[in-house]
Amino acid sequence: MSGAATAGSSVKERAKLALNDEFLRKAVKFTTERLRNGKKAASEQHGHWDEWRERGRQIRLHTIAHLDYYLNLFADNARKNGVHIHFADTGAEAVKIALEIARRVQAKTVVKSKSMVTEELHLNHALDSIGVEAIETDLGEYIIQLAGEMPSHIVIPAIHKNRYQIAELLSADAGETLSPDTTVLAGYVRKKLREKFLEADIGMTGCNFAIAETGSMVLFENEGNARMVSTLPKTQITLMGMERIVPSWADLEVMATLLPRSATGQKLTVYLSGITGPRRETDADGPEEMHIIIVDNGRSLQLGDPEFQELLNCIRCGACLNACPVYRHIGGHAYGGTYSGPIGAVLTPALKKNVAEWDDIANASSLCGACYEACPVKIPLHEMLIYLRRRKVEAGRGNALESAGMKGFAAVMGNAKRYKAALKLGRIGQKLVVRDGGIRAKLGPLKGWNTYRVAPSLAKETFRERWDTLEQEIRAGLREMDPDMKERMERLARERAEGKGGHGHG
C-alpha cells in the first residue's frame, strides 16, 4: 500500500507524482507498447477477431444474465468433485473464511500465484496479522511484494519498474549484488521460490475461469508457478470473483482464444491448467484438501443495472490499460485502487457503490474510446465513465464551480441569440490578452491549457456572421448536381423514411 506513487489524495496529485517520474513513464511506455503491438499482431493473425470478440461478448452476456443458475451449477459440480465451496458476500467475509482455513491446518506459510481478487481483499496483510507468511510466487508479484507496493497493472504487476530497479530490490533480498540481467534475476527468484514451494502449507490461487458444467477451475499462466502452487501444498485455497464463470469447456475455447492474445499477444499462455477437485487416488500429485471461495464484494450491485452490468463481463486481460493513453503517462498507482486503467476507473467506484469518493478517477479519461476498441468482450468503458460522472452530478455531489459553469453553459447554449451575444462579449474581452492571434497568458481557466499550449483567439467574424455573404457567393456559382449523386441522395432519404437506411453507432 505504500510507495511514492500511491501517495497523494486525488488522482490529480498522484498523477503529478507519476508524471515527474521519468523511470516510471519510460518503463510503462516500453511494456505497454510491447503488449499492445503483440495484441495487434495476434488479432490480425487470427483473421476473424471481431467475430470472436462478439462471440466472447455473447457468452459473457449470457452467463452474467443467468449468473445465479451457473453459479449454483458450478458449486454443485465442484462439491461432487470433493471441493469445499464457500460464498462470501463481502471482502471481510472472504478474508475470514481464508484465515479460518489457515488456522485450522496450522499453516505457517502460504505460497500464492497471481490473483487480483486477493489484492482486492488485502489478503496478504490479513494472513500476516495471524502470523502466516504469504509468499507471492509470480515474478512480478514477488518484486512488488519486496517493494511493499500494490500491482500497478492487472497482468504485469511490476510494469512501472525497470530492470535496474528490480535488480536493486532482488539484490537486497539476496544479500548479494545481482547483475541487472533478466536471466540472472529470474534465476535467483526461481531458486529461492523452489524452497518455498516445498515447505508451504497452503497454495493459494486466483481463478481465470470456472467451468460450470464440470465444476472445474482454470488458470492461465506463463511461469509454471501456479501449477506448483496448486500441486505441492497439502491444502489449496482458490479465490474467485463470482463473475468468473463460463458455462462449458466449449465456451472456454472462445475465452482461451481471446484472453492470451488480448493480454500479451500470445496464442496461448505457456501453462493452462484445468483443476477438477483435489488429488484423487490415481493422481501423482495435488492437494488433499481444496477450497474455493466465491467472492461478491460489490459485484452483485451491478446485476440488473443496465448501465453497468456489462462490467461483469471483464476477463481481466489488461488490454484496455495497454491501449489507454492516460495509463501510458501515469501508470497504475495513480488510479489509487487495486484495479487501474480504464477498467479500474469504472470498476473501483462501481464495486464501492460510492461515486462521491471515487469521482476523480472517472475524470482521468479523455473518453477517447481506445479501451472499448481494445476490449475482447467489447465493454463500453468510455460510456460507463460518462454514466459515473452523471450519477455523481445527479446525487448532488458535483463540483460547485463546475455546476455553476454548466448552468451558464445551458443558459448561453439554450438559445442562439444569447449565444451570439456571449461571443460578442468574448471578442471584446479577449482584446486584453490576444497577441498575434493567440493567447499565451496563464490566467484563470487558461492556466493549465497555456502551460502546454497557446490558446486560439475568437475569429473576427463568426461563421454565422459571414453566412449571408458566403451564401450569395455560392448561389452565384452553384453547379448542377450529377444525376447519379442526386439519385443516391434521394434513395438514401427515401430508405431512411421507410425505416431501412441511415446509419447507427459505428
Binding site: 448552468k407 439554450g414 493549465g448 486560439p456 453566412w467 441522395m489 431512411r496 446509419h503
Partner: protein
C-alpha cells in the same frame, strides 16, 4: 433535398474558415448547403461532464434547427458522434426521442458525406506538400470514419503522405478533461506534438478542429512552424490551386 451545415460552436467561433471551405467544396458538386441560424452547441461538454439536463437544453437547439433537413453535415466527428448519443440522452422523453433518432440517422461527418453519400474520392486537388494525418478518436472509433480521409488524400496530386507515429493515440484534448486534468492532458499533447515534429511534415491535417486546436496550440507553444488544417480546407485549397 435540404442539406444543412452543423457548424459546431468551436468552428463557428474560432475556425469559420473550415466551414467556408466545406461550403465552397460542396458547392462544386451542386450541393447548396443551408445554415439554420438557431443552432448553437451539440451539448457535448455538458454531456461528457455528467450534466445531462444542461446538455439537453443545448441539444434541443440542434434537434429543432435540423428537424426539416434531409442531410446534416458537420466538420467534426466528435460533434457528429454526440448526435449519436442523443437517443440515450433523450431515452426517457417520448417527445424528443423520435427527433433524436431521426437526426442520428441523417447526420454525417464531412468526409463520410463526401465519400459515402456523394461517392467522391478524387476532388481533383493538387497539394504539393508533405502531409501527416491525426485520426481523431471519436470520428474514427465511434463513427468508424477511417478509410474516407485516406481515400481522399490518396487522390490528391503532389501530396506526399507521411504516417504519424502512434497516430491513433488520443491527443489529450477530451473537452473538459484538458481543463480538469491539465498535466495529464499536457503530457499527452506534448507527446503528440513530438510525433508530429518527428514526421518533418509541413502540414498536419485532421477532421476535428478541437483536436487540431489542441495540437496546433502545443506546436505553436514550442515554436514549431507546422501548418495545421482541417481536411476540408486542404481539399478546397488544393482544388483552387489545381
Amino acid at each position: 433535398m435540404k442539406v444543412s451545415m452543423m457548424i459546431t460552436c468551436l468552428s463557428d467561433a474560432l475556425y469559420p474558415r473550415v466551414g467556408e471551405a466545406m461550403v465552397r467544396l460542396l458547392a462544386r458538386y451542386g450541393v447548396r448547403l443551408a445554415f439554420p441560424q438557431t443552432q448553437t452547441c451539440c451539448g457535448q461538454p455538458a454531456f461528457n461532464s455528467g450534466y445531462w439536463e444542461e446538455a439537453r437544453t443545448s441539444a434541443k437547439t440542434i434537434l429543432e434547427a435540423f428537424e426539416d433537413s434531409d442531410f446534416v453535415i458537420s466538420p467534426s466527428g466528435s460533434c457528429t458522434g454526440m448526435i449519436h448519443h442523443y437517443p440515450k440522452l433523450f431515452e426517457n422523453d417520448p417527445v424528443w426521442l423520435p427527433k433524436a433518432q431521426a437526426l442520428q440517422r441523417k447526420s454525417y461527418e464531412f468526409t463520410q458525406f463526401l465519400v459515402q453519400v456523394l461517392g467522391v474520392k478524387d476532388v481533383g486537388a493538387v497539394f504539393p506538400h508533405k502531409v501527416t494525418y491525426h485520426p481523431s478518436c471519436h470520428g474514427s472509433r465511434l463513427l468508424g470514419v477511417k478509410d474516407e480521409p485516406m481515400e481522399l488524400m490518396r487522390h490528391i496530386k503532389g501530396l506526399e503522405f507521411v504516417p504519424l507515429p502512434f497516430a491513433e493515440d488520443c491527443c489529450g484534448f477530451g473537452g473538459t478533461f484538458a481543463v480538469k486534468m491539465p498535466d495529464i492532458s499536457g503530457a499527452m499533447v506534448t507527446e503528440k506534438g513530438d510525433h508530429v515534429v518527428e514526421t518533418e511534415a509541413e502540414v498536419l491535417v485532421g477532421l476535428d478542429m478541437a483536436c487540431l486546436m489542441n495540437i496546433a496550440g502545443n506546436l505553436r507553444y514550442r515554436g514549431e512552424k507546422v501548418r495545421v488544417m482541417h481536411l476540408a480546407e486542404l481539399l478546397e485549397e488544393g482544388v483552387k490551386g489545381a
